[in-house]
Symmetry: C2
Subunit: 749 residues, 2 copies
């Protein structure tokens, strides 16, 4: 257990680090050379840095971040970021209202009690930090004082219900406003169709889809785009793109002004194999130019083949108005509901092409397998780490790379490596985990990036809840204390109620640990986030040593997007810890408020000036977050039941009502609010559209980029157009006339 | 435990009763005077009795029942009955396929084992009937023979999955055919809208609904009918209808030819109060004629008031084609999904008017309260029975009705009453239960009769499963044996796994009891059903003593509808028992096959000749049944896990997979098949319509009958029409011109 002294030390240390990073930000963000790192989002839209860059006040950025209106935030950062930031507001409200009761009422009651003192008199081995005396643990068992904590539990619960319901309505309002926006987006006219049955004889896939939907939506259906298997094409396409990039780089190197020597001499050269280290030397420009031409031709051939032969059982269908698309996306189309499944189309940028055509049964099997794998990962995540560490043990390292032997056998280095290699393995694994979970989610057959992010976020949440929260509290203490061991050994007594009691009894002693955890997350995490020292360093290093072309420079400071699948689970973990302790150790509320307040300001700054969304899901992250907040509340309530039991409080039975109310609340939200997020409601879809994209444009954005035109000259363009028109309206940017024909054809139908 | 002898005796007895009832049916159904009882469905459609009435063969009715094609069955008995009978086919298939393995493989294995013999040698107190030796209980513990039973468990499970999936598809096909039928039904053009928000200022409810839907469905929306609160009107209306009936009866009595006396003398008279026993005597015809006139006027006044002032937040909306209605019923309409909720309209006959306008939050609260009440009823159903019995104890009876004292105090009568009064109370309660559950379901706020029936059926199922299946097996044996008591007392050991073990260990000894139960249900229940001796007796008694008018005669033999809410749970209970024992005591399969085979023939006969459906839900009972079959399978698998544990079979761990597979199967069915039952798929809705009801007709059938015209002369009909036209198209049969105006008005919009 962390003593009060150690706690304050770690708190002060991280606060100091935070202040340092804050100062670094205030200084660095005012240098013109760093604008690309601190205002990339504004640089891209041509706005330049904000007023803060010129002003003296080092906290001006906070004012800018907070004062920007919500409309502007939606316009700049998108709905997803706005809803994510509103989640912070909701949590701040929950904790602020909770504090109103818990801090002025519960802390004084705990402070005036003497349970810890007595326990210390009876058994001086038990240590209690000063901090512990402000928590419920200090209240004597079975006294009427516990009524206050019971009321506190109810207070926190009802505050949470109230704030969550209020914010759900607000989120629905925000989403509705975005969906009813007068400038219509392509996805509002589009539906995704999956599980199309096999093509009947004498029909093409295109005819099949068109005839089916033309019959059902005679007035509103426009045309469709059949999804193709682009796996083989993509391979060639990526090589082609890489070659193009290399060519540009080589040309830029060639044109670089050198003080001495003629131009001919500076023509770049490279060796053919193994990262340009081995093999015959060639002239880079000529080599890549030839390669681009060659690959371009290959891409075109493969494009033709793909369009003709690789059509799959999925399609995007396009309607002539928003209402029709919104309505179609909600209806069961086929007599057998598992065929012709129609979904709202994901935004074009977030389509996961490989997954669209996976049949429904396969999706289910994949889901089952992935869930099992995640379950195993969550339960036994130590095993891969142990494997990695054993693989990265010094002996193995030396066997693989014998030349390291001399260095490694030097005693001081040896000691350090022995100690840190396993830690390193853990660190690497923990950093690989989000990507691994994204990969697993992708294997499930999810059709859109935003859904992938939500799926990965859910998995990561389980992982950190299990390993950090439960692992540290329950198992950590159980295995470290002999009493816990005894309890587990006597496994006949192992039942649901005993777990609840154990859960309650083991939590309070680790309160201090978690408050430290929250504080650390708080100061250091957000300090790094705001100051962006790591991207800054990388940017300047790259600029100095690697970058030749403007494209490469742009790529070096290209602003990232929010990585919700790691951010959201961490935030909810903090929320969960704070909720579990809100009544037991109300002081945690202060730290939680600090964490979310700093987070709100910092992330609002980042959303406005740094991050640029990679895609827009229409705020569908909110129901995901909402559910997890409710789960956090539920876990907190279960904890309280256990802890009241420990305190021998007979009226603890009244707390049992709360988890039930939480379940009812969750059900109510799912039934009443969730449909507004799952689909576009018709009342919103019929709002006036002032500006809508032309059909050609919509089809174009729903074409994977590798099926769009290749820049090199194509000799047999006639043949190509034939292929295109035969499968409908595809790769439109290359020949607009084809699209025209196509769409007219379907209008005429 | 029932010994083999007792078992055979009870089997033979009930078989004899069954044969007697069968003979009674064969004789009675051929008498012309009974045609109305044995062929009421055919009499109503003017077909008269079937060929069986003329033929000598006493089993001809079976042939008729089985040979009728499915199309004809749908046409005569409706889709609901067809799907209910198909459920019998599905169950027969499951048990037939299960028998293929269980009977020829498992019974010989059990018969050749000697576990019971050994147990008897060790403890002669344990009794084993001959029947028990054919069950798994006779197999020695931990032997390889148990592999056969393990395979049996898998066999039964996979057979069930296969048959259920196959039949789900068949049911979807049947339902689709009915929905795509070329003669369109009114409900196919209609949606039910609930939770309409409060009327904005300066608008009527009608304008509000029309403007909302006109904007969303500009081309397909026709008009709406706002639901009104008819509670007050209904009271007067029912009095009015009763008075009309009494008047007709009195007139018929008056016109009855009497051998002596003049007509004037036979004019019926009655006294005014307390069932015509007390008060001044009046001439019945004059009295009722005056009453009908008076009430008729009251009804009209109330109709006007209702239409104007009692409009509620629910409406039926009408579309001009099936597709539009089907599509609208599946879409979220309002920005906040809990407003303007649109559902597929129930069939006109099954609308529960009082429940339509209950707001969504109230529905949820009601549902919660009702579930709690049902839970309590299921758990503590002995308490109301005890209350009733204490109330109906002799002492109370004497206190209430002192004149019974002399009779009751006569010793022999006293003894009999003392013994049977509690039994009587149980009987009364068990018979009241389905109605009570229907009432509870109605309180939930369910908008349609068929849904009510499903809800009540679900509740009844829990009840009988808990009280009959679990009550008899688990609790019955636990409480009757000292060992069970001990186990329960030592409640520290009470955990999930111990319950499963207990469950498995207590089941087999009661196998014989359940086989008797099945056999009894089988023979006596279906014998009574087929022979209809009770309705026959009532009919003839009524005809002799009460009936005066043709209307009353028709009412006396009016054919009932299937009472699915009592039939389905009973069938599924039998199914559940048989499934739990299919591997443990495979002989039960023979009885189960008999039960469902006889049930199939008898009920098919009844569906074709007797029952007339009160409404048609489009076969929505099937998903309900399907889920409960899956639950039965799940319970069976859990039982097997427990029983394998008892038998100390280490590979029993393999059975744990099965419940998981069952859960996956259930999820798969819910995702893939259920949507086809929840809504009408668009591909079906766009099928060609050859004959569709005119809008006026559709509106008329969706008007509650008490809002339709009153037969007496109405003096101020102008005022009335004003009221009608102001609220739209309502009570149409009374003035068609109003409807015309109304519908034209909306066409013009």
């Amino acid at each position: 257990m962390t003593a009060t002294g150690a706690f304050i030390t770690s708190l002060l240390t991280s606060f100091a680090v935070f202040c340092g990073l804050l100062a670094a930000f205030a200084v660095l963000s005012k240098l013109k050379v760093n604008y690309n790192i601190y205002y990339p989002s504004r640089m891209i839209s041509g706005l330049g840095p904000t007023g803060f860059a010129k002003k003296q006040n080092p906290l001006e950025w906070m004012k800018e971040a907070i004062m920007t209106s919500e409309e502007e935030l939606v316009r700049i950062a998108g709905l997803d970021a706005t809803i994510y930031l509103n989640f912070f507001v909701a949590v701040l409200e929950i904790f602020a209202y909770s504090s109103l009761f818990c801090i002025p009422v519960l802390i004084p009651i705990a402070a005036k009690s003497h349970h810890n003192e007595e326990a210390y008199r009876l058994d001086p081995n038990q240590t209690y930090a000063g901090f512990d005396n402000l928590a419920m643990g200090n209240v004597e068992e079975g006294t009427t004082k516990l009524w206050a904590f019971l009321v506190g539990t109810y207070w926190v619960s009802f505050v949470t219900y109230y704030v969550l319901a209020k914010h759900y309505k607000k989120m629905i309002h925000l989403r509705g406003k975005e969906q009813a926006y007068e400038k219509a987006a392509p996805q509002q006219f589009t539906c995704l169709v999956r599980d199309i049955p096999p093509v009947p004889k004498g029909m093409t896939r295109l005819e099949q889809v068109n005839s089916f939907f033309k019959k059902i939506h005679p007035d509103t259906y426009e045309t469709c785009m059949v999804v193709t298997n682009i796996k083989r094409l993509l391979k060639i396409w990526l090589k082609y793109e890489a070659a193009k990039k290399n060519l540009e780089h080589a040309e830029a190197v060639c044109e670089e002004p050198k003080s001495t020597a003629t131009r001919e001499v500076t023509r770049p050269k490279h060796k053919l194999y193994f990262f340009g280290l081995i093999g015959p030397e060639v002239d880079s420009i000529n080599f890549y130019r030839e390669k681009v031409r060659e690959l371009g031709r290959l891409v075109e051939v493969e494009q033709q083949r793909t369009l003709k032969e690789e059509q799959l059982g999925a399609a995007f269908i396009f309607f002539n108005n928003r209402r029709a698309a919104a309505e179609a996306s909600q209806a069961v189309h086929a007599p057998y509901a598992m065929q012709w499944q129609v979904f709202p189309a994901p935004e074009p940028r977030e389509v996961v092409w490989q997954n669209l055509a996976i049949p429904v049964y396969q999706r289910m099997v994949r889901q089952g397998v992935v869930y099992c794998m995640v379950f195993m990962t969550v339960l036994f995540y130590m095993i891969p780490i142990a494997l990695i560490s054993s693989f990265t043990s010094l002996e193995n390292l030396i066997r693989v790379l014998p030349f390291l032997k001399v260095v490694v056998n030097y005693p001081p280095i040896n000691t350090v490596l022995q100690a840190y290699l396993p830690q390193l393995a853990l660190l690497v694994f923990m950093n690989l985990l989000p990507s691994l979970l994204m990969l697993l989610s992708r294997l499930e057959g999810i059709p859109s990036q935003s859904h992938l992010v939500r799926a990965a976020s859910g998995k990561y949440f389980y992982f950190i809840v299990f390993n950090v929260f439960l692992g540290v509290t329950l198992f950590g203490t159980v295995f470290s204390s002999i009493a816990g061991f005894k309890e587990l050994r006597n496994s006949k007594n192992f039942s649901v109620s005993s777990v609840v009691t154990l859960f309650g009894s083991r939590l309070p002693p680790v309160a201090a640990y978690f408050i430290t955890y929250v504080a650390l997350q708080n100061f250091i995490g957000y300090g790094l986030e705001l100051s962006r020292v790591v991207p800054l360093a990388i940017y300047h290093l790259k600029r100095r040593f690697l970058i030749k072309t403007q494209k490469e420079l742009d790529a070096a400071w290209a602003p990232p997007a929010f990585t919700y699948h790691t951010l959201v689970p961490t935030d909810i973990l903090i929320l969960m810890i704070s909720m579990a302790y809100a009544v037991i150790a109300p002081l945690i509320l202060v730290f939680a408020l600090l964490y979310f307040a700093i987070g709100y300001v910092v992330l609002r700054n980042q959303a406005l000036k740094v991050y640029v969304p990679a895609f827009e899901s229409g705020g569908r992250m909110w129901p995901h977050i909402h559910t997890r907040i409710v789960v956090a509340l539920f876990v907190g309530q279960i904890t309280m039941i256990g802890y009241f039991g420990i305190k021998k409080f007979p009226y603890a039975v009244l707390v049992i009502l709360l988890p039930l109310i939480t379940i009812i609340f969750a059900t109510m939200c799912r039934i009443n609010y969730y449909p507004s997020f799952r689909v576009t409601s018709l009342a919103i879809a019929v709002e006036d559209v002032k500006e809508s994209p032309p059909l050609r444009k919509i089809i174009e954005v729903y074409t994977p980029s590798c099926l769009l035109n290749v820049e090199t000259i194509c000799e047999d363009s006639d043949k190509f157009e034939d292929a295109q028109s035969s499968i409908g309206s595809r790769s439109m940017s290359r020949s607009n006339s084809v699209v025209q024909t196509c769409t007219e054809e379907f209008h005429a139908l």
